[in-house]
């Protein structure tokens, strides 16, 4: 083959390593920064939980728990946008459905944490199948508009349904006991419930991290990068997109199921456009396609909002400005930027010689 003699800036080439070995090595480098960031995140969260738990704090622990719950919604946005390249403007719909389902279960069926988790998974799968089958027929902007429309319609229907508390939502949700067998806590124990939510989010995060390294995860990236070529290889982009949609709605719904346990109420606002855009903003601030980024983004967003809220009532303006700054200066988000730096470093280091 004619070699054009151009300089390769590829990852480490140990002599004789196969293309696959080299390709996997490079992928590991790309994830290295993100993996470190995720260890820092979860270790930091544990340290925070212990320290503030010992202090007997309530406010910050509850705020952090909320940040983690919204972080899961951001993760669900990242599956769609970062993996499959689908922008959903209605992710709060599935969060809200999970929250209402959780509230109803706790109030009317049983005060069981595990039952709520089971029901919210079921609700997420079913509503995701319906929403997905409707939305993925359309592409690009039209897909985004359909997800937006679906969320608005359902929010309005709930707003007008007296049995669901209409505009007031559902209040007076009992305090749940969470039991893992060897350890148990109550939803009104700020540190205890923080750790419960942290565990749920960690499981979701690790599950998605695993998926990103499977042929299924790679096929979703294929859809994002060049959907049109996929059928010619033998893939079905429509099926892959539906699978991503259902996965995302299920995660959002699980997050929703945790919400009434934390706050003791649910209301139609949970499904509003604002809630959907918050998840997108958190994802983009943290770094689309990085998985850990959306969790950082959500923590930043929730704490900033709370801090700004004590100074000014114009939170939205400040958040909007922050969002624009990130998009202009760090278009790949904070973690996306960090990843680029680490990858560039490793290239110059390894490029020097074997």
């Amino acid at each position: 083959m004619a070699d054009d003699g151009s300089v390769t800036t590829s990852a480490p080439r140990s002599a004789g390593a196969t293309a696959a070995v080299r390709a996997y090595a490079q992928e590991r480098i790309e994830w290295r920064a993100l993996n470190i960031a995720s260890i820092v995140f979860f270790a930091g969260a544990v340290a925070f939980g212990v320290a503030y738990g010992l202090k007997g704090d309530t406010f910050y622990l509850r705020l952090a728990t909320e940040a983690l719950i919204f972080g899961a919604v951001a993760l669900s946005v990242d599956i769609l946008l970062g993996f499959a390249g689908l922008l959903s403007l209605g992710q709060a719909l599935y969060f809200g459905l999970g929250a209402y389902a959780g509230a109803l279960v706790l109030k009317q069926v049983s005060e069981s944490f595990w039952l709520v988790m089971g029901v919210s998974i079921l609700v997420g799968v079913l509503s995701g199948l319906i929403g997905g089958l409707i939305a993925i027929r359309a592409r690009g902007v039209y897909f985004a508009l359909i997800t937006y429309g679906l969320a608005q319609i359902v929010a309005k229907v709930i707003y007008n349904t007296r049995e669901l508390g209409a505009s007031d939502g559902i209040t007076g949700i009992p305090i749940v006991n969470v039991s893992f067998g060897f350890w148990q806590t109550k939803a009104d124990n700020p540190a205890g419930f923080f750790f419960v939510v942290l565990a749920v989010i960690a499981i979701i995060y690790l599950g998605l991290l695993y998926l990103s390294g499977t042929p299924f995860g790679r096929a979703l990236s294929g859809v994002r990068i060049n959907e049109n070529r996929m059928p010619f290889l033998g893939y079905r982009p429509d099926r892959l997109k539906l699978a991503a949609f259902v996965l995302a709605s299920t995660i959002a719904s699980i997050a929703g199921g945790l919400y009434p346990m934390l706050r003791g109420f649910v209301s139609p606002e949970l499904m509003y456009f604002d809630a959907s855009t918050n998840a997108i903003v958190a994802t983009m601030i943290g770094g689309t396609g990085t998985l850990i980024g959306p969790l950082y983004g959500s923590v930043i967003l929730v704490f900033l909002k709370s801090m700004i809220g004590t100074i000014t009532t114009h939170q939205i303006m400040v958040i909007g400005a922050l969002f624009m700054i990130v998009v202009i200066f760090f278009p790949r988000g904070l973690l996306g930027y960090l990843r680029e730096i680490v990858v560039a470093r490793s290239r110059t280091k390894d490029g020097g010689g074997p």
């Binding site: 054009d4 390769t8 590829s10 080299r22 490079q26 990236s221 990068i225 010619f232 290889l233 033998g234």
Partner: protein
């Protein structure tokens, strides 16, 4: 070995209308197993449209397509690669933000069983081995970890063909594989296509008649959607109708 009636791909009365325009008009073509069959014609002759009809990207207005005797008219595109029909694109159609290796691994994995799709990628050894073999065969070994979008034009055209081969096709249809290539790259690609044709049946769609002359055993000429001539290269070149329609229009 191949006999004259061992037909891999066949079209009967294939036609499509775009509004009033009959872009492909009643075309019968039989592609013999092995070697290279070329389809040539001036710009706008209907070559790419014919190709899209055969590969399921467009539905015909009339007519049928057969792959090894089985009718495949209207078969969804994603099923054709499993049936042994693959295609490359006139305009490079890769995954530019993925590495060269990942482009090939993704293509090679498409036909693997579902059970493997939720295990780590490294566990799908067959797809991995296939991708490795293609990387080496197409001289992309030193570029395996480069983004496909960062390759030179010639390398991208090579990868384009390698990706199309990842499903182990029986028949590969190439739409102007040398489009936009330099002279040396074109020669290189021609040699590659000739090598490939020893293993699988190739249909080469070309605009440039000179490229196909010493490569193919059969040349089909399309003009204004119709089949104008068909036969060995020398005979086709000598054909009066071809000379007026094809070379006249050149």
């Amino acid at each position: 070995m191949s006999s004259a009636d061992d037909i891999v791909l066949e079209t009967r009365g294939l036609s499509v209308n775009f509004g009033g325009l009959r872009a492909v008009d009643n075309v019968d073509i039989a592609v013999r197993r092995g070697g290279i069959t070329s389809i040539i014609g001036p710009n706008g002759a209907g070559k790419s449209t014919f190709y899209n009809l055969v590969t399921g990207a467009i539905r015909p207005t009339a007519g049928k397509v057969f792959l090894e005797g089985r009718e495949i008219t209207g078969t969804p595109t994603h099923k054709l690669s499993a049936m042994g029909l693959s295609r490359s694109f006139q305009i490079t159609n890769l995954f530019p933000q993925s590495t060269v290796f990942e482009n090939l691994r993704l293509a090679a994995h498409a036909l693997e069983p579902w059970s493997l799709s939720l295990l780590p990628v490294g566990r799908a050894k067959r797809a991995e081995a296939k991708a490795e073999a293609l990387v080496e065969r197409f001289g992309l070994g030193s570029k395996a970890t480069e983004m496909a979008g960062h390759l030179s034009h010639g390398e991208q055209r090579r990868l384009e063909i390698a990706v199309a081969l990842a499903c182990d096709p029986k028949i590969l249809i190439l739409d102007e594989p040398t489009q936009g290539m330099s002279h040396t790259d074109t020669e290189e690609a021609s040699r590659m296509v000739r090598d490939l044709s020893k293993e699988i049946t190739i249909v080469l769609i070309e605009h440039d008649i000179d490229i196909v002359m010493d490569l193919s055993h059969t040349v089909v000429v399309l003009a204004q959607g119709r089949k104008l001539a068909e036969g060995p290269p020398a005979a086709v070149r000598a054909n009066k109708d071809v000379q007026t329609a094809y070379f006249g229009a050149h």
